[in-house]
């Protein structure tokens, strides 16, 4: 399913302080992969929300859980980034992890909404033997347009 190894695989402890370094890495990485500034921000946000949920729900805010973040660059059938987030925490039925109705104004229940909104794929799975896996995928907007690989839409070309 992922024939190539991940370009980067990160293992972090379930500590909120580590969210900022992971975001910084992801922003630098996805800029070079051809995502524009807004998409890059959205990717970092999606991963941040996912990790925050693992810390709060998967590990109930214990600081010694482990979380793995794997980043794959895929070219087929279309150019995209795939990020897998895995934990050994509490399992939840994927069908139960859903976004709430946003009409009601209350704190909480926004993370899954945000992740779904800013990515192309957002899929939760149970891992064997324990923990959860979340798969996020996103294609750069520049990737589809005008032909094969000339990346006319990437930001570095837009900057004169």
């Amino acid at each position: 399913m992922n024939p190539q190894p991940p370009a980067i695989r990160l293992e972090i402890l379930s500590q909120a302080d580590l969210l900022a370094p992971v975001r910084a890495m992801l922003i630098s990485f996805s800029e070079r992969f051809g995502f524009d500034e807004i998409e890059t921000g959205h990717l970092a946000l999606a991963v941040d929300e996912a990790l925050a949920n693992v810390i709060r729900h998967g590990y109930e805010s214990r600081p010694d859980g482990r979380i793995w973040i794997s980043i794959f660059l895929m070219e087929e059938p279309e150019r995209r980034i795939r990020i897998e987030i895995e934990d050994e925490g509490r399992q939840t039925d994927p069908a139960q992890i859903t976004s709430r109705d946003l009409a009601e104004v209350r704190p909480g229940g926004l993370g899954v909404n945000i992740m779904q909104e800013v990515t192309d794929t957002c899929e939760f799975q149970r891992r064997t033997p324990g923990g959860m896996r979340l798969i996020l995928e996103k294609t750069p907007r520049g990737a589809a347009d005008s032909s094969d690989q000339n990346h006319a839409g990437t930001p570095e070309n837009g900057k004169q």
């Binding site: 969210l19 900022a20 925050a52 709060r56 946003l102 009409a103 104004v105 926004l110 909104e117 800013v118």
Partner: protein, 115 residues
């Protein structure tokens, strides 16, 4: 880690309004300190609370949730809440969460104080 959780937050009183200015990214590590500061400020029953977000380049749903909670407390205590000076990335999070029409959002602190 060191003091990563501690976030610098400026608080300024102007007549019966209070301007709260968090400095830096608001994520799961930082939102608890914003939350407790807002609670403290609201305890002094201001008429108007302005949260100046011009120094916040990044906010996730934990930050948004903190502000929604502040909004509920404001509504319960007849205080008007304004969010001022949102950077594009932060505004985009409010839009995704469909909260951009729920909050009073102004361009800057001055317009919030004049509103």
């Amino acid at each position: 880690m060191n003091n990563g959780q501690e976030m610098e937050i400026q608080v300024e009183n102007r007549d019966d309004s209070v301007v709260v200015t968090p400095m830096g990214e608001v994520d799961l590590a930082r939102s608890p300190s914003l939350r407790s500061r807002l609670k403290q400020v609201l305890g002094e029953s201001p008429n108007r609370l302005v949260v100046d977000l011009s120094q916040v380049p990044y906010m996730d749903s934990s930050g948004v949730a903190t502000l929604v909670e502040a909004l509920q407390q404001c509504r319960a205590h007849d205080c008007s809440l304004f969010l001022a000076g949102l950077q594009d990335r932060v505004r985009s999070v409010f839009e995704i969460a469909r909260l951009d029409t729920v909050f009073n959002i102004t361009a800057d602190t001055t317009s919030a104080l004049d509103a």
